[in-house]
Symmetry: C2
Subunit: 594 residues, 2 copies
Amino acid sequence: MGEALGGLKRTLMCGEVRENNVSQKITLMGWVQRNRKLGGLQFIDLRDRTGIMQIVFGEAINAEAFEKAKDVRPEYCIAVTGEVVLREAPNHNMPTGLVELKCESLKILSESDTPPIYIKEGLDAAESIRLKYRYLDLRRPDMQRIFMIRNRISKSVRDYLDDNNFLEVETPMLTKSTPEGARDYLVPSRNYPGMFYALPQSPQIFKQLLMVSGFDRYYQIVKCFRDEDLRANRQPEFTQIDLEMSFVEQEDVIKMNEGLIAHVFKEVAGVDVKLPIKRMTFKDAMEKYGSDKPDLRFEMEITNITEDVKDMDFVVFKSAIEAGGSVRALCLKGGADLGRKPIDKLGEFVKTYKAKGLAWIQLKEDGVKSSIAKFLTDDVTNSIVKTMGAEVGDAIFIVADKNSVVFQSLGALRLELAKQFDLIKDKNEFNFTWITEFPLFEYDEEEGRYHAAHHPFTSPMDEDLDMLETNPGEVRSKAYDLVLNGEELGGGSIRIHDSNLQQRMFKALGFTEESAQERFGFLIDAFKFGPPPHGGLAFGLDRMVMFLAGTENIKDVITFPKNQNAYCYLSEAPNIADEKQLQELGISINVKEK
Amino acid sequence: MGEALGGLKRTLMCGEVRENNVSQKITLMGWVQRNRKLGGLQFIDLRDRTGIMQIVFGEAINAEAFEKAKDVRPEYCIAVTGEVVLREAPNHNMPTGLVELKCESLKILSESDTPPIYIKEGLDAAESIRLKYRYLDLRRPDMQRIFMIRNRISKSVRDYLDDNNFLEVETPMLTKSTPEGARDYLVPSRNYPGMFYALPQSPQIFKQLLMVSGFDRYYQIVKCFRDEDLRANRQPEFTQIDLEMSFVEQEDVIKMNEGLIAHVFKEVAGVDVKLPIKRMTFKDAMEKYGSDKPDLRFEMEITNITEDVKDMDFVVFKSAIEAGGSVRALCLKGGADLGRKPIDKLGEFVKTYKAKGLAWIQLKEDGVKSSIAKFLTDDVTNSIVKTMGAEVGDAIFIVADKNSVVFQSLGALRLELAKQFDLIKDKNEFNFTWITEFPLFEYDEEEGRYHAAHHPFTSPMDEDLDMLETNPGEVRSKAYDLVLNGEELGGGSIRIHDSNLQQRMFKALGFTEESAQERFGFLIDAFKFGPPPHGGLAFGLDRMVMFLAGTENIKDVITFPKNQNAYCYLSEAPNIADEKQLQELGISINVKEK
């Protein structure tokens, strides 16, 4: 069915042929994009990774090849040899459009059934079909472009880090279950039946051990695993650009990673990232944008109007303020003309973020219109308008509640307004910000105790050390996230390297000495032997590819992704296992009927 | 307990300081190798990844630092600042030996307990202790050197392949159980309780799918997993340099990989690999060296003496020949003086390879001595000696049996003699050979059927296609291994891309259409859509590091290896799992009492 190459060598790639190849005899190999008959000739568009080239067959060029070409169908894999000539009818829309190849010899390397999906740019087939026939989906030029970008990112990351004396070091995949964080994937052991390894959620502990070992600068582009319910844009296995440095403070890590990002974005996309990247504290980010990953491609800051409304006789505002909360607002330029229906929808929207409601003021040409008109005096209105910097034509949206609810709901509303009113002007902008001074702890109301906001090895800020025992909720950490266009691109921290401080940290997290030892034993032990000051960061490679390839679907940047249920349509994994093997592992299936 | 850096920056690495730094003020950071008192001064050897630098403390240099330095113990992590000066007593044995740093300021970044293993070159502590305190074991300069070599290999592999238009593409870790080969590690699924993913033994099927997708050239440095009983130099997880190319034949893959090897060995070790690398067929390798991975650093070929002995009245030889076997021998130069005891030991040695015994002839100054003297005529002896090219002073060792036993036992004896008599003269030699024309099938006597010698996608040689059904045992394949100093460094093959041929192959392997579809379904399906001719290769990265680092223990080249039982002394993995999590996975522990 398929002819052999028989020593035939490809001499160029399809997308590379240009006018300077005219009158050369070349050999191309690839897939038939289309095959048409025209004026007694046969024209095949031949496709490979680099592009498409027109091949022409004719009785007068080579009769045998011409006859064979007539039967060639889309997605056949073929090899063609012939002379490059100028096209009579050039196509200026394709890079190879000025030339064509006059085919003197055709080999059909393999035939193809009619593909169940059409191989072209911008396909919109059902996801399950795309994933089942992923090998065909990946033939689409836009998919190939994504993986060429992914390759370019990885290579430029490695080049930069290698130039900066980082060592690529591999860490284990079969490791111990990590005590905090998401659910681990388990791997049953055969040597120790009934016991399990865990796949790593990140190489965190191992990279810290490598610093204890004196490797000084480590990096790895590494698969990580989380057995979580898959929200959109999550995959059970994902890839991190993971790095760690010794003898550094926060400034050093930030500077190194700014250099990395600038290098990668320049190499891959020709984008000049302006350095230094701006910074914002977690507190500012929450107060101004209601998010620890603010999208700064548009203005619209959240403004505190508690002072302006504190004397209003409006129970919703009053009770929020009295309970220690606040009243804050967003100003939508040109929002004065919004009708009742869209405004009501915005009210519904904020309720999904636990806000009790959304008050609003419209500054129309003919006066003020408001959902809280009967509580507003002119003085209060003027005061709010002034604080907000609002003008005639604008709308003001107000939430009153405890601060966490105010921030979350107004932060979400801010993004929603940007979407609805197209506030992001430059779609190609890459707007970076470091978020710093994260809280060290998060309070878990259900369990009534503090959790580590990042992980228990994150260093508190020196200024806040005294509050570790007395006021843990206020302690800030040496943690930092790099945010790009409202998404977290990466994050890290300076780690604790002082074992006394680590003990205080464990205590604050509610660990006894025993339970800390049980859970983090080998790291605690390692830190008894002269650990260096160290810190690091991990970027989500998948997300970085999404940004640089301009896609919002994580499945587009992973060759063989799983669906929302972590199922692979292609290989049909997971699957049943051999009973004998399960016996060796000391486990048995125990599925309850539903 | 530990001082903070407080903005202090390292300006040089310990191993970098030279005479041209004299009179500069520098800051170094690292670990205390030793601390000694001498002539009213305190001398600390400070160590980091790059080497060791002498730091001197004195009352007159800086009294405060001098006082502090007195209490510093080995493996404390410290930072020192001061001026570089020439040493009064230079040490020409270390790269920094002409200079020292006069310490004006000392920070103790962290203290250290007395380490349970000594941090020095060439340690010989018990393996379990080394692995339990791996983070200290990895501080040893010789271990750090290994991982710097490993990093250098990976980087130069990536550089070469990137220059040759290979794309680094990641393939899934959570995949479907592979039907042939070693035992998979399983990963229970939570979304489909009672079902399992498998960790990949290699990305074989996925890389072939990527070729079907038109990625053209793929590579990946990737973790692979095999749940096998761990022989020496095996680890449950290991790393492959995996690559695949489209539109190629065996010559193209071999040439590309010779270029890769030459690049890596030059970059990493300054070794010039002479290209092209010599080649040998599997048949020649077996007949001459009794191995498909012959060590060619020394001569000593196996010689067939069946013709010479066929008329001897010796039942052992006779019956072997009559049964279709052969009589073959090795000649040990200078072996005539060997005493009876060492010769008897060699006899025992070959018995472990199923040989029934070892006949021998010693060509002594004063005549022939032999274990089979009573069967030897002068004519036969002369004939053997001539065929062997033996001289007075040599010994000839003979095995008669079926060929597989003759090859295996004499191949092993050849290596044993090389070891005992130190036949490998140049220990630094890198002797490469390609082994080609491997058998396509292996006959499984237990199951009474043929198995794929490599995997079922390996292409038969064109010349042997006709024998696929009639004489499968004789069919050779387009498979090739790269052998270095008697070890397999890598191997691969040209794959079948013709679906008719693939069907014939499955049939020859005893698969029905149904069972082939069940096991290899998605690859078979993919090959219906114009698969390109393709082939590839995988190198064992761990083994490559072992060669270039000069170690024979695979644990030395893996940061956190497991022991023979796949147990990690450091993290104590595997471990028990949470009962609730097992319930979610639909499995329960079912360990039988022994």
